[in-house]
């Protein structure tokens, strides 16, 4: 109880807007929302023959990328200390692998070949809460975990590593009401998502993409 009061005083000093009792950090937060994953370059690789001098003769070139995708995510956050939380989260994103084919030796017109891709991640992250500004609750996050990528129809499934470095903010719409939605916030976050392994092109095994997430937070 003493500890809770100390938090409250601290909060008032920093923000000076919301009542002290309303700025206590929930012990548990559950977030559900949507994810927009930006496109990422996956590398270039050429189909080549070798001439008698061991030099490449290009049959065609490919430039590969993973297109912008969207999906959903769920997060469970547990408070460790005042400013520190640990989060366990899962995301599912639907996107496309794209391969732009150019430079055909027999002058086939360029085209882009695609296949659907599902990206599933399960990550554990450490969250650090920055100073609050009234109902605005900014934070930074770093974490990593397991990546699974499946092409459409689950014809191909591979595993890899997924990591994130991000910054975001929650806006607490309600912080002291009764019932399940007594503590309710909107969460917005910008991430740098790093993926290693999974379905790869050429020698580029690591991919980095900007990712944006918006969710509804229920605190307890």
């Amino acid at each position: 109880m003493t500890k809770t009061c100390a938090f409250a005083v601290y909060g008032v000093l920093l923000a000076g807007i919301t009542p002290a009792s309303a700025q206590t950090t929930p012990r548990v937060e559950v977030t559900v929302g949507g994810v927009l994953a930006g496109a990422t370059t996956a590398g270039d690789i050429n189909a080549t023959l070798l001439d008698s001098g061991n030099n490449p003769l290009v049959l065609f070139r490919t430039s590969n990328r993973i297109a912008t995708g969207s999906g959903v995510e769920g997060l469970v956050s547990l408070r460790l200390r005042n400013r520190w939380l640990v989060e366990l989260g899962g995301t599912w994103v639907k996107t496309d692998l794209e391969s732009r084919i150019t430079g055909d030796l027999e002058d086939v017109p360029p085209l882009t070949a695609t296949v659907g891709l599902h990206q599933i991640t399960v990550e554990a992250s450490l969250v650090y809460r920055l100073a609050r500004r009234g109902r605005w609750d900014p934070f930074t996050r770093v974490g990593g975990g397991w990546l699974r990528e499946l092409t459409t129809g689950r014809a191909l499934a591979t595993n890899g590593f997924s990591g994130n470095v991000s910054g975001g903010i929650k806006y607490w719409m309600r912080e002291s009401g009764p019932g399940l939605f007594g503590r309710l916030a909107i969460r917005a976050e910008a991430r740098l998502q790093v993926r290693r392994g999974g379905i790869t092109f050429g020698e580029r095994a690591t991919r980095v993409s900007p990712t944006f997430a918006v969710g509804l937070v229920i605190g307890r």
């Binding site: 061991n54 003769l57 049959l59 490919t62 590969n64 391969s99 092409t151 191909l156 092109f201």
Partner: protein, 333 residues
């Protein structure tokens, strides 16, 4: 069961520019009313080497080069074929005598043929009973480790011929151009089993390429290879009808490997096996600038009147299976 033996004088020769490129490996086989029967050894390959030195190479050097060639093929992962050198012999290659003999022969009338292989097979099972290889002494040969100007590398040509001996046909994974003096010159290739050799002095064909490894694994890989690799299946159509003899190439977007196959039915069906799991670009092209006899020697007629075409989707190959079948519609030239 009575064996029906057949002596096949092959198109399986490595030449100085008599054919041109497609993009595929091809297993040797023959059509029966019940389908295609592939050729393969079902017992260890026991072979003899002729005991005569040639102008450039001793019998021992020939035996060593052939031994390295066998080792290259049989060391491909999952390949179950084995081989054993049984000694030097005075027997001639290309003689039907029940033993497999590898050696030099003077065949000056075959002015573009560096070497060739023949088979004796069981026509019911496709089992290879005997296979001989000859190297044409009309050409100069070398076993120098770095190659030798104006001489053909015995190990490189031997690797190609031993591929035939094991049951592989020609790969089309190469591009050529016509020479003013006749025949064709290799612009580039990516398979030891391409039917046209690099110029004299070159030793690049001492190393198997992905197309070669896929081919031998397809014949001798057994269930282990099937578990670890995958397959692309599909059909090539022109005006809605299947076409025979179209070359289909699968390009692995991670490794850069090129591996191919042909449509081998009049329905236009193809299968490319022994592919590493991954994402592939699939391209189909006609055998329009090739000596078709280097690949097919019987009906049906190979269709060549269509434009090279990419399958508009990337194709995924799972481990131990195949993705959805693809249909590639091509248009007439």
């Amino acid at each position: 069961m009575n064996r029906h033996l057949a002596r096949i004088v092959l198109v399986c020769s490595l030449v100085l520019g008599a054919a041109s490129g497609t993009q595929a490996y091809l297993k040797l086989g023959f059509l029966t009313p019940n389908g295609v029967i592939g050729l393969r050894w079902t017992r260890p390959v026991e072979y003899f080497v002729t005991n005569r030195d040639s102008q450039d190479v001793t019998a021992s050097q020939l035996q060593a080069a052939v031994g390295r060639a066998f080792a290259s093929w049989t060391s491909v992962p999952h390949v179950g074929a084995t081989h054993a050198f049984r000694g030097f012999s005075s027997a001639e290659p290309f003689v039907s005598d029940g033993v497999s003999v590898i050696g030099f022969r003077a065949r000056p009338e075959l002015e573009r043929t560096l070497a060739a292989a023949t088979f004796e097979i069981d026509e019911v099972t496709g089992q290879i009973l005997e296979s001989d290889i000859f190297f044409n002494t009309a050409f100069r040969w070398s076993v120098a480790s770095a190659g030798q100007t104006e001489r053909f590398d015995l190990e490189s040509v031997g690797l190609h011929e031993v591929g035939h001996l094991l049951g592989l046909g020609h790969s089309g994974l190469g591009e050529t151009e016509l020479r003013e003096t006749g025949g064709r010159r290799v612009l580039g290739k990516r398979a030891v089993m391409f039917p046209i050799a690099y110029p004299a002095g070159n030793i690049e064909d001492r190393t198997l390429e992905a197309d070669d490894r896929a081919a031998i694994a397809d014949v001798y890989g057994g269930s282990a290879a099937q578990r670890e690799t995958g397959t692309i299946r599909g059909r090539v159509t022109l005006g809605g009808a299947g076409i025979f003899g179209a070359h289909v190439t699968a390009f692995n977007t991670r490794t850069g490997d090129l591996i191919g196959g042909f449509t081998l039915t009049t329905n236009g069906d193809f299968v490319i096996a022994s592919l590493s799991p991954g994402v592939y670009v699939v391209r189909v092209e006609p055998l329009d600038d090739a000596d078709i006899d280097s690949f097919f020697d019987e009906e049906p007629v190979v269709t060549v009147n269509f434009r090279p075409t990419y399958y508009p989707m990337l194709v995924t190959v799972p481990r131990g299976g195949s993705g959805p079948a693809v249909t590639i519609a091509v248009s007439a030239k």
